[in-house]
Amino acid sequence: MNRYDYHQPGTIEEAVGLMAILDDAKYIAGGTDVMVLIRQKKLKPKNLISLRNIKDLVYIDTAKGLRFGAATTHSAIDNHDIIRRNYSALTDATSHLGSLQIRNVATIGGNICNAAPSADTACPLLVLDAVVSVVGPKGARDIAVDDFFQGPGKTALAHGELVKGLSIPSFGENTGSAYIKHTRRQAMDLPILGVATRITLSMKNGAEVRCRDMFCTIDSISNILAKLKEEELKIDEARIAMGVVAPRPMRAKKAEAVLTGKVVSPELFEEAGNVAASEAQPRDSIRGEAWYRSEMIKVLVKRALIKSMDRIIRPDEAIYPERLW
C-alpha cells in the first residue's frame, strides 16, 4: 500500500513552499481524481498537499465577468444563479459531473488539472474564453485555457505550480452558451463525447433578439430553424469546443469560422456540425466507437448551438425543456 504524509497548508504561499521542499509531492483538492489514481496505483506520492484549507482558493465573484477560485466545488458553481444564467455552459457541466456527493467535493481547478480529454468543465471553459491564473515558485502568471490543456493528463503547469483561479470575461445580453454531455447513463458517467458552444447574436437594425415565441412551441427543430432564417439573426461571435474527440479538449475553430458573421439557418448549423466533425480525431475505445463519436459531433454541435440560442431568446426559462430532437 502506498503510504504518504498529508499536509494541510493554510495559505497559497505555504502550499507552494511545501511543494518546493517535499519529495514526490502532489497537490490534492477534492481528491475525487487523486484518490482514485492512488488506488489504481497510477500515482504513488509520498506527500499530499491539501488545498482544502486555503480560503483564497474558494470564492465566486461576478462583479466584472466571472472570477472564481480553483478550489470552488462543482456544487458551488451549480447553485449560483448568475452563473446559471450568464454562463450556462459551465452549469450544464457542473450539474452533470459524477454524483451529488462527488460534486460537493470535486473542484473546478482539480477537474482541469486532471486534464482528462473527457473533463466536463473543459469544453465550457474553452467556449467561455476562460483564463487560468496560476502561481508557483517563480511567481504568478495567466494562461489562456486553450493553451492550458496539452494532452491526456498534461497541462501547461510547471513543476510546483498550482491553479489559483479562473476568470471569464463578461458577455453581452445576446450571448448564450450550452454544454451537452453525451452519456450512456444519467449520472456517474463520463461523456462518450461532450460539446460546448457559445454564440453572440444580433438582429438586423438592432431589433430585440429575445423572446421569440417560436421557441416555446414543441415544433420540430428544423421548422424552428427554418422560421428563424427569415428573422435574419446574425451570429457575431461563435465558439465550439469538443471533448473526448482528441488527446485534449479542443476548439473546433474551422467550424467557428463557418458560423461567424452568418445568418442563422438550418443549413448553417448542419455545416458547422460537419466541419467540427472533420476537425476531430476520435478514436475507438471501450467507451465509444470512433464512427459514432463523429456522427454525434454533427448532431450535438447542432443541438448545442440551438440550446445556446434558446438561452438568448428565452433567458428566463429556468429549465431547458427536455426534448428529443
Partner: protein, 760 residues
Amino acid sequence: MNSLTTVGQKIPKRDAPPKAIGAAVYIQDMKVPGMLHGKILYSKHPHARILKLDTSRAEKLAGVRAVITAADMPSTFRIGVMKDNPPLKTGKVLSIRDEIAAVAATSPEIAEEALSLIEVEYEVLPGIFDPIEAMKEGAMLLHEETKSNVLKLPWKLVCGDVEAAKKEAVFIVEDTFSTPWVTHCCLGTSGCIAQFDTNNNLTMYSNTQIPSLAQNDYIEALNAFGLKNKRVRIVQCVIGGGFGSKLDTYSYEYIAIRLSLKTRKPVKIIFSREEEFFATSPRQCTITKISHGCDREGRLMFREIEMVLDNGAYTSWGATTPSVMMLPISSLYKVPNVKYTAKCVYTNNTYSQAMRGYGNPQATFAIESSLDQLAEIAGIDPYELRLKNANEPGEVTPQRFKITSCGMKECIEEVVKRLNWKGKHGRGAGRGVGMASLIHVGGGARVYKSDGCGTIIKMDDFGKVDVFTGASDIGQGSETIIAQIVAEVLGIPIDDVNVINNDTDICPWDVGVHASRTTFVAGNAALGAALKIKSQVLEAAAKLLEEDPAYLDIKNGIVFSTRNKEKSTPLGKALRKAHYTLGGKMLMAEYFYDPKNENFDKEFKGNLSVSYAYGTHGVEVEVDKETGQVKILDYVAAHDVGKAINPLLLEGQIYGGGLQGVGYALGEKMVYVNGELKNGNFLDYKIPTAKDVPPMQAVIVETDEKDGPFGAKGIGEPGLVPTAPAIANAIYDAVGVRIKDLPITPEKVLKALKGKEKIG
C-alpha cells in the same frame, strides 16, 4: 384465514434500519482474534504454461505467515460442477482469473506486497476465445484429458414432432439472437474467514447463499486434505447481495481453508471490487438460433432452438442453465412441438455461474423477440398473438409441467390497459410499445434429490418466538416474510418473532436460496412448524381455561375461546403454566417441508415445480433517431405472484428485477477482449443509476396458489426475465429496427437506422 393481520401487509424489511445506519455486520466488517489476511495471485495471461514459480522472496517478507501454491493442494482435488477446476493451478493456466498462488500475512497490505514478490515465468500460448471456433474439429483442447471442448452435457429436449409441424405451419420465422456476459454487481464483494479449532473442525464465516451445500463441499475438501470425519460450521454474516453469484463454492474459499490449516490461524480473504469483477462468475453469454411457426390464426405450432453457450475455462452452474432455459422454451405460451439443443463450450474466457433467472432471460429474449417477428408476418397484433397462445390453469405443458394457478392472461391484459397499448402500438414515429411475458418456477424446483427446508420454532415464557430456518436472507427479505407467516399463524405481533437463519450449527437443512423458492418452500416450512406449535399452545391454554382446544384461537397474543368471551388468557400465562408445573414443558416444534415436485427424467420431462410464476412486462419507449438513444417513457410490470405476503417487498423485487433487466437490455456487458476483461469497474460497466430508473408500475396479480403459503408463489427472479425483449420489441415498434444482440446500445440502434435508411 379470511381475516389476515400480518400477511398481506406492507411491512418494511427488518434488516433495513441496521443496513441504513451501518450497524449490519458484513463479512467485510467481521474480525476474529488472531486473524490473518489472505490474497491471491492470478494469472497474467488467459492461456499460458507456467515455466517457473518462485515464492521464496514473498516468504521472506516480514509479516508473511504462509505462501501456498498448487503443491500445497492435493493433486487430484478439483472443485465445481464437473470437478474440472483445481483451486490452485499448476502447469497450465486457462483463464485470466486462474489462481496460481496465495499469501497469508498479518495485514492485507503486506499480503498484497508479498504477491508482487512472487516470480512467475510464463510461456504464452494462443487462446481460444470464441465458442464457435472452440467447437470446430481440430481446435486446440483446453482440458487435454477431454476429447472435445464441447462439454459432455446432455442438453436436449424433444416434445412432439417439430419437423411435421414445420410442414404444416403457415407462417415461419427464423433468426439468431445473442446475449453478453453480465455480472451480478453485488454491493458486498465475495469473502470468507476460515478458522480451525484445536480438533481441526472448521468454522467458515461466509456470505454463501447455499450454507448446507457449501458445508458438504467443505467437508469433501477437508477429506481431500486428509482431515476425515471433521465438523464444518458455516456462519453467515449479513449478505450484501447474491443474485446467484454465491450459489457455488470457489477457489478463494478453499485457499482460505488451506492457508488457515497451514498457519493454524483464522484467515480472511475479501475480494476487492476489481476482483469481484474479473474473478467471479458472470451470467453466461449465448448465441441462440430460433425458429417459430404458427397456423393461419396465429396458434403456435412449433418452436425450435439451438444454442451455444460460452462455458469459459472451468465449469460452475452456468453450464446447467439450459435445464432452466427449457422452462420457457417448452412452456412459455402453448406450443405443442418443441425441440431444443444446447452446447456448452470450453474457451479461455471467464467461467459462468448462475445469475437471477438462471438462463431464463437469455432464452426469453430470443423467444419473445421471435414471437413479435412472427406476429408481424402473420399480420396479428403481438398482444393478440400472445393472448391467443397464453398458458392457462389446468394445462399440462409438453415438458409435463402441471400448471396450477396461472394469471398470464390477466398480466397481459393489465399491460395492455395500463400502457394504452391499442392507442399506441403500430404508430411508429419514434415512439413505440412492446411487451414480453415469462414463465418461471414458482413453487420450488427439484434440481437436487431434495428441495426441502427445515424450520424449528421455540417459545419462551412470555410468548416470544425464535424461528430457526435453513433459508438464508441474501437481501431478498425472507427474514421478514418468515416472521410474517409465523406471526400470522400464531396470532402474535411480528416484533415477537425472531428469525435465526445464519448458522448451520443451529439451523436445519435447506437446499439454498435459488429458483425463487424461499417464500414458497421456507414459507411452507415455517407455516408447518408454526401450525404445530400453535396446537401445542392451544392445548396448554385449554388446560388453563378449561376449554376444548378446538374452540381456542390466538389474536394479538391473547388466547381466547371462540364460543365463550369470558375465557381468555395472555399467551405468556398459558406458556408459563405449562412450564412451571410438575413434568412441565417448554414448547418447541419442527417441520421439514419438501414440495411434491419432480426431478426431470432422462428426457428432461417432469413437473419440476409445484407451481409456476407468470408475468408480462410492457414498455413504451422513445428513440432518438439522430443519436440512437432509447428512453423508457413508461414501464408496466405485471406479475402473477399467487398472493402477496408483503406487497412492499414484492414490489421491491419487481422494481429491482426490472431495473436489473433494464441494465441487461440497454447497457450492461462485460467486455472481454482475448480473454481479458476491459471494463471491470462501475464506470465502464454500466449498471443503471438511481437517475436511470424509468417510471415503473408494479402490478400484482393474485391467483391464490393452493400449495403456496397463504397462496404465495415465488417472485425472486421473474422481475428481470422479460425486460430485454419487451424493450427490444418496443424499439422495433418505434423505429422499425430490431436489435438482436444485447445490450441495445445507441451505436447499434443508430447503425441499424442508417442501414434501414439505405435500404428504404
